[in-house]
Structure formats: structure tokens, C-alpha cells
Symmetry: C2
Subunit: 252 residues, 2 copies
């Protein structure tokens, strides 16, 4: 027996499949189903209940259809999640190719990406899990590259600089979205949740060591609210990255 990767060597992405089976009119069918409607319902459910609770059966119920109808339009759950992922990237407002200088456009792009990740906390695990080469994701990455290229970096540095900026934004948006979702789940404001978590950590003997460190952070941050801290840290880090790009461009 030849050692194979699982059974059937799954196709790496929906976007590399043959012509889609779905995508017809929508209304001709008894149920009015099509890929667009299914994808929209998926995004809605993911926003409302999160990735962990999403299931094909749950989605079918939402669409007033039997569990297996969806499979006429979509091969697997993975394919459907890839479609939802790219649909979310479609929400990004991309700045014009020309106009402001690259710094201003980079701030705009980073801000858009961050707020997308916060708005859809399920997006971050999906962006990590799949290839993310749908049309909207590609438009985004093309724009990002255009912007970075204007910064005057040496050619061999462009992809590295791009990584530095957007891996940061990705990571930051991920934990921020996660944190806010947790707070909302617990029925608290972000500030109440912060105080609550701090108290839990402080009171637990196993967590000693986290305490002094957190106190320092709090002191440094002053009496800000959580969202002020999040804003300030993000802005500072982004300016740091821009300063780093400038420094590397100057080195040549």
C-alpha cells in the first residue's frame, strides 16, 4: 500500500475547484437556495453564535431546509467556511491606489483589518486554517503590497515588512476580538470583565507572579478604560512599525 494523505487527498481550497455547482439564479429552486444565500446565512450564524456552535444541521434549520440540501451547493463544511471567510474580506474598504502617502494608507488598511477581525471573531481561526486565496482576500493582499512597495524598502525586504505589519494586526485583532467576545458572553462590559479577570488571577495562589507584572502594566497605563488601552497600544505599535520601515528603507 502506498502511504497517502488520508483518504482521497482533499483538494486544498474551494477556490481551486472546478466550476461551482451552485451560483444559479435563486428562486427557480423550490427552496430558493443558492451559494450566496447560504454564505450569507453562514456569516450571520457565525456572528451570532460563534464558530464552535456552527454546524451544517444548524445552518440547514436556519434556512428551513433539510440538513443535506446544503450539500447540493457546497461539497463540504470546509468549503462553506472558506466561502464565508472570503465574504468577510469583501467587507474591507480598500483605499485608492493613489492619493495619500503610504503611511496614511497603511494606517487605513491596518485599521480596516483590525476592525474586521474584531467584528467577526470567527474569522481569525479560519484565516489561519485555510489558504485564504479567495478573490476578496487577494484584492486585500494586492492592496497591502502596493502600499508597502511605496515605502522605499530594498526589494528583498518587502515581504518581510509586509509580514511584520500584518501579522501584528492579525494577532492584535484576534486577541482583541476574542477578549470582547468573552466579555459579551459573560454579560459584562469590557471594563467590568477586566476587573473581574484581574480579581480571579490575583486571588488564585497558583497565579502569583502574574500579579506584580500586571500591576506594573496597570500603573504604566494610568486609569484608562480597556478600550482606551487597546487603542493606545495599537496606535503605538503601528507607529513603531512605520518607524521601523523608515529606518530599514534608510539603511537600503
Amino acid at each position: 500500500m502506498v502511504k497517502a494523505a488520508g483518504k482521497g487527498a482533499a483538494r486544498p481550497s474551494v477556490w481551486l475547484a472546478g466550476q461551482a455547482r451552485g451560483g444559479r439564479r435563486g428562486g427557480g429552486q423550490p427552496s430558493g437556495l443558492d451559494r450566496k444565500r447560504i454564505t450569507e446565512a453562514t456569516v450571520r450564524l457565525l456572528d451570532a453564535e460563534g464558530l464552535a456552535k456552527f454546524s451544517m444541521r444548524r445552518l440547514a434549520a436556519e434556512l428551513n431546509v433539510t440538513a443535506m440540501s446544503v450539500y447540493w451547493y457546497v461539497d463540504t463544511k470546509d468549503d462553506l467556511l472558506e466561502l464565508a471567510l472570503d465574504a468577510a474580506f469583501g467587507e474591507l474598504r480598500l483605499p485608492d491606489a493613489d492619493g495619500d502617502d503610504w503611511r496614511e494608507r497603511l494606517r487605513a488598511l491596518a485599521g480596516e483589518y483590525r476592525s474586521l477581525l474584531v467584528r467577526h471573531p470567527w474569522l481569525s481561526p479560519l484565516a489561519g486554517r485555510y489558504l485564504n486565496i479567495g478573490p476578496h482576500a487577494r484584492a486585500f493582499s494586492r492592496t497591502v503590497q502596493d502600499v508597502i512597495r511605496r515605502a522605499g524598502l530594498p526589494a528583498h525586504g518587502v515581504t518581510g515588512a509586509l509580514s511584520a505589519v500584518f501579522q501584528f494586526v492579525y494577532g492584535y485583532g484576534t486577541i482583541e476580538g476574542h477578549y470582547l467576545a468573552r466579555a459579551a458572553d459573560a454579560g459584562m462590559t469590557p471594563d467590568d470583565y477586566y476587573r473581574h479577570a484581574m480579581r480571579a488571577v490575583t486571588e488564585d495562589p497558583a497565579a502569583s507572579g502574574a500579579v506584580e507584572q500586571s500591576r506594573d502594566i496597570m500603573a504604566a497605563r494610568g486609569g484608562d478604560t480597556v478600550s482606551e488601552m487597546l487603542e493606545r497600544d495599537f496606535d503605538f505599535a503601528l507607529e513603531l512599525l512605520i518607524a521601523g520601515i523608515e529606518a530599514m528603507a534608510a539603511r537600503g
Copy 2:
């Protein structure tokens, strides 16, 4: 009815639980089970088969025990994964508090974290999903803070700079580990897999637009192997971040 977060408002972390039930000798029991052995088997299985395939039943089989025995030592699957997460952070070799200058220690820490994420691709989703406040994770974050504090940044910039650096490393290590795992699953070298993926994207009409952009990147990167590219981009980005920290420190 009061609106509650699910049923029972799940405890936010194993590390905030009361005294652990497990952790006894290990050998007194018929099966020789304890938390340590269970956690080690979990890490082994996650390395071998990935997060998606991991299950409590699969783990029990590995330990030659019935599915439910594990629940004597661990409350839920989530708790167990948190234990595995912190165990992995225990593999990090943290540099001494004093010695080299902060730049050298930052490079060492970033390199350690990156290789940890690559070695254990399951770690990245878990680090995003849980609070990650186990003893080893806390030791890591304490060390990171010590290092950043030596860079001469204004107090309000320390946490932002910390985010910039370690969100970058996290994101970079995540996609790198993911990529290498995919290649290995497909039974290819990283270079073969790269060529294969490029060909798939190039041939697919839907992917037009990704092509020219990728060609540019390739051209800029020269005839490197994938691992040379990964190395170069990581190093460039890290130097960019260090330069950015220096610039922000100079601004005061």
C-alpha cells in the same frame, strides 16, 4: 429565567480552578495514570495527528484505558488542552535576565517562540482559544517584558511594543508551521509543495491576479529555497521591529 452564558457559566481556565484532583503519585493506581502522563500523551498525539483528529476516546485508547477514565483526572477536554498548551510553553529556553543586551535577548526569545510554534502547529489555535495563564506561559511573558523594558521606551509604549514583536512572531510561526505541516501531509518537501501550489494557482482562471503578484515576489526573492525565504523574511522583519523600537525610544 435569568439569561446566563450557556449552562453553568464555564470556569474561564484550568489554572483558576480549585485544587487539582489529579497529580498524585502515579503507580499506585491500577492503570498508572496521572495528570502528567495524560498531558504528555496528549502532546504526543497532537504532534502526531494534529488538533482536528485529537479526541478523548483516541487519547484513552493510547493510554490503554477506557474512554472515561481520563475524566477522573481532568474535568473537560478544554482543561486538558490548556494543560498541553502550558506544557509546550515549558519547552522554551528562556535567556538569563542579565548578560547580552536587549537586542540579542529579543532575537533569542523570538527565535525560541517561532520554533516552538513550528514544532507544534496545534499550539497556535490553542494559544488563541484559551487565556494562556499557566505557569510556563507566565514565565515566558515575564521574560519578554523584562527584555522590552530594557529598550528605553517611554512607559506607555512598553505594552504596545511587546504586542508588535510577539504578535508578529506568533502570526509568522503560525503560518510557517501550518505550511510545513501541509507539505508534510501531502508527502512533499516544502519546495515541491510550493511549486505545486504555485502551479495550481497559476492554472486556475479564478486565481488570476494572484499570479502577477506572486511572480514579483518570486523575482524579488531570487532562486531561494522556501526555507531560505522564510528565514530571510523573518530576520528582516525582526530587525525592522528592533529598528522601530530604537526609533520610538529616541523619540521619547
